[in-house]
């Protein structure tokens, strides 16, 4: 796939631009629901880049978990807290400062990236697409302890979320 390289790159840049514009939308939208919807677009862009990097599994997990569950939860909270009702001040007082800090961070990161000499082989390196079996093996053998910890963490987090969000018995 010699000529595929440029095609993939074009697709990559399209996706990247979509993702970044959506991300800017997330942080600048004047409406929380819009921000959430931009977030979905951004996630889809990230998933697309995962696909370009030939890790379909991560892309699909990203869609499955973020794309549906997370976004639904966010929209839930939005609806129940009636954020649409009154226009809220969505930005804090330190906005210019924040923008400046973020730009500084960006400059530092890009500077670092450019300054580093990546000793990688060229982009057409022989990367073996990772199979499902390999990921499964890795998770359940090498990384089994973190996996269990993540599971426990997940259950604790969900329990905590339920306890936090459920109304008090002695509310009245």
């Amino acid at each position: 796939m010699e000529e595929g390289v440029t095609a993939t790159q074009v697709v990559f840049w399209i996706l990247a631009v979509v993702m970044l514009i959506s991300a800017i939308g997330v942080v600048t939208a004047g409406n929380i629901v819009y921000a959430a919807l931009f977030f979905i677009a951004s996630l889809a862009g990230v998933a697309g880049i995962y696909l370009i990097l030939t890790v379909e599994f991560i892309a699909l997990v990203q869609l499955l978990i973020y794309g549906s569950a997370v976004v639904i939860l966010i929209l839930f909270a939005l609806m129940l807290t009636r954020a649409r009702e009154r226009p809220q001040a969505l930005f804090g007082r330190s906005r210019p400062l924040g923008i400046a800090a973020a730009l500084g961070l960006l400059a530092a990161l890009i500077g670092g990236i450019v300054a580093t000499t990546w000793t990688t082989p060229e982009s057409s390196t022989a990367f073996e697409p990772v199979g499902l079996q390999a990921i499964g093996d890795a998770i359940f053998t090498l990384w089994i302890v973190p996996f269990i910890i993540v599971g426990v963490l997940l259950s604790i987090a969900l329990d905590g979320a339920i306890m936090l969000a459920s109304p008090d018995e002695d509310d009245n």
């Binding site: 390289v5 990247a16 997330v26 921000a35 030939t54 599994f57 969505l90 960006l106 990236i113």
Partner: protein
Amino acid sequence: MPPLEHILVVNAVLFAIGAMGVLTRRNAVLILLSVELMLNAVSLNMVAFAVYGHVDFGNITGIVFAFFIIVIAAAEVALALGIVVRTFRNRATANVDEVNLLKW
């Protein structure tokens, strides 16, 4: 595939955008979304390094870490939303700078 530098630059921009959101927004839900953006940038970076064979301990590891990050992000979102809803109930606001009970 695109060169690694391109991907890293894109990720850096994404990360910076997320950081900007965290720093400028005052609504807790929006801050949460911005943090998610940053997490996305990080996990994308991990996958990129893994795919380009830049990690010492095998290229599967980055992918597994991305997987873990996504899972933990889900847990984090659930927990954070619980906190937001609770805060909203108690304080009638979803703005972080108005929640100052623990300031002192």
